[in-house]
Subunit: 198 residues, 4 copies
DNA sequence: AATGAATGAGACTTCATTCAT
DNA sequence: TATGAATGAAGTCTCATTCAT
């Protein structure tokens, strides 16, 4: 019985993801993908309509566990502050463990002509909405300042975390995750905390 | 004095930049560039080693005014808080006016095989260092909290501003720059402000 | 068993060889080769790394029968004198039947940047070594003069035969091979014959 | 006053010759020639109709001293045997001192499509005719065997000497010219000597 | 379910030549 | 006499996709 990671599709996903992280979508050829996956070229076109659709499916495939991780994180949190901190931490951990995916997210997100552009944006929106919920909750509870827009702040915090995480992984991967998380926590939690004035 | 060579190069820079803004680097062909520039195809290869080197030169060419803008912004600011706010605003304005460039910065920054990778990284580092200086000044002056790392915070704020700016331009370009700047200012200035505790 | 791949390669070899015979390597385009072979352009690049590698493979492909011809010629000869004469004749026949190849051998042999340079040199060395063996045998048997260097003489005789053969084919192709062979035989066999003094 | 070697044409000749010897006619670009010559690209087209005509003129320029050398060699020789030996030696010396030219002679001689093909062939014929004269003289004098064709033998000896010389310069340049000349002399003089039978 | 040879549109690049200065 | 920017035809090569097996 074939385990999930042995299936042809999954081998193609892994190969495509690691290659696209290294060289980008356009920079990665179908030849390279099938070679790394250890299958023949036609196999891609047997399973998918094309290269772009393979990536689209790959994104969808990796999306569910990510969503679940964020959902669970948000549910487990007792307060908006704790939630925000936990979400940042969850994002950092996810980026650390799915660096290839994260890199792809950042570098391919703004390529509007891509077939899977919508899928990628939906993923991003989904993640941001968890941040937004925590921030909105905090504002409603009076612990976060009310003069910020929850959606804007969520997007900003998400972007800050992603870029910081990539910097971290590229320039100082030896720094423990805790240190990075703490730095972001200080910046982020203060940014939204109420009872202060700019 | 503008030589004929300089004129031609500039026409190629303008054509390439506007096209790359529309379609990305890989999506733009040399044929399109020379057609828009009104020169022959061989002209690109007379002046540059190839398409990538044209873009590299383009980046270098447009880099100086950008650096100057940030330098002047930092110098004109009376206090670290004002400086930080002005830098954010300068970054937003630059992204608005050089959207093609900004998009390229984000999408090509992590593509290590590109010939202009180093140039792009130097540009990014240069911009971030202005943020870092303002933050370090603020920490030294006691107006910014001392438990954050200036370099880390600079990179985080830069990333936050870039992603917010791209979101803005893509999803709600009708929002005035002032509104965006104000939102980021609130988040950013509070994040680093001293006299508060997370 | 001829696979589809082998068939295609052979069509490309035939097309390339006949064209290069007419117009030389640089003068022959990939477009012409694929047109004559009746395949699509991409097929060349599916089977070979490039135009030069196609020719390299072509050389290697046609090399074995040539080597075999020389080997058999040498083995069939009863004495060193007969062997030398037979080798000259074999070389002439081969040049007559593979004029394209022979021309390429002479014109591309000293072009060190070509990818097939090594293959071509190996071919030349292989042919010359047959001459060398016959001459060395003759010297050992006392029928060839002992004051000549077998390797040097082999290379000289080979060169003499090639240049004579090309002259023949270009300037007086109507001359029968026998006449040419007899002229060279007279020059060559006397040159190495013992019992005389310069 | 400009010496002969300082003239623009001569600088172009030297540059072109050394480059063509390295990389062949087609492999050498006009850009490379003018760079090595230290002049601008347009200069070539000011002095010559094109790249091929530059080479044609270069051949003609180097032809006269070569012809003179052979003429003097032949005139100075007292007997046909001495003449033949001296001609071989003259050819070796010339190849040693004009290696680039010699290489070009061998590699470009059979490219029939070249504009200067005729010029090159005339040069070759001119050299061979000196050999032919010496051999014909020897046959008439009864010192060379009468069953060989003087023209054929001349061409064969010339080819043998050229290929031996290139082998020598490429594979064992440390061998003194005298040793090479002596080996060829033994082969050549015996080949044509009368009073022997194949 | 999978293969891999074949395709061909379209990309990048080369380079001999022209010409205004 | 000399320059060098500009040209564009023609070349080599890439690669997503197709399809007979």
């Amino acid at each position: 019985m074939a385990t999930r990671s042995d299936t042809t599709k999954c081998k193609l996903y892994d190969a495509a993801l690691s290659l696209i992280a290294e060289k980008g979508f356009t920079g990665t050829t179908v030849d390279e993908i099938v070679e790394r996956a250890g299958v023949a070229k036609g196999t891609v076109y047997y399973h998918f309509a094309g290269k772009a659709e393979l990536v689209e499916a790959l994104i969808a495939d990796r999306l569910t566990p990510l969503q679940e991780q964020f959902r669970a994180t948000l549910e487990a949190a007792s307060t908006p502050s704790v939630a925000l901190e936990a979400l940042v931490r969850a994002e950092l951990e996810w980026i650390r463990d799915n660096r290839a995916f994260a890199k792809m997210l950042v570098t391919e997100l703004w390529r509007e002509e891509r077939v899977w552009h919508d899928t990628l944006f939906a993923l991003r929106h989904s993640i941001i909405s968890y941040f937004e919920r925590a921030i909105a909750d905090g504002i409603a509870a009076g612990v976060f300042r009310s003069d910020i827009d929850a959606a804007f702040a969520a997007s900003a915090l998400f972007g800050m975390t992603v870029t910081s995480a990539l910097d971290w992984l590229v320039f100082s991967p030896e720094t423990p995750l805790d240190t990075v998380a703490e730095q972001i926590r200080r910046l982020a939690s203060m940014a939204v905390a109420s009872g202060t004035q700019a």
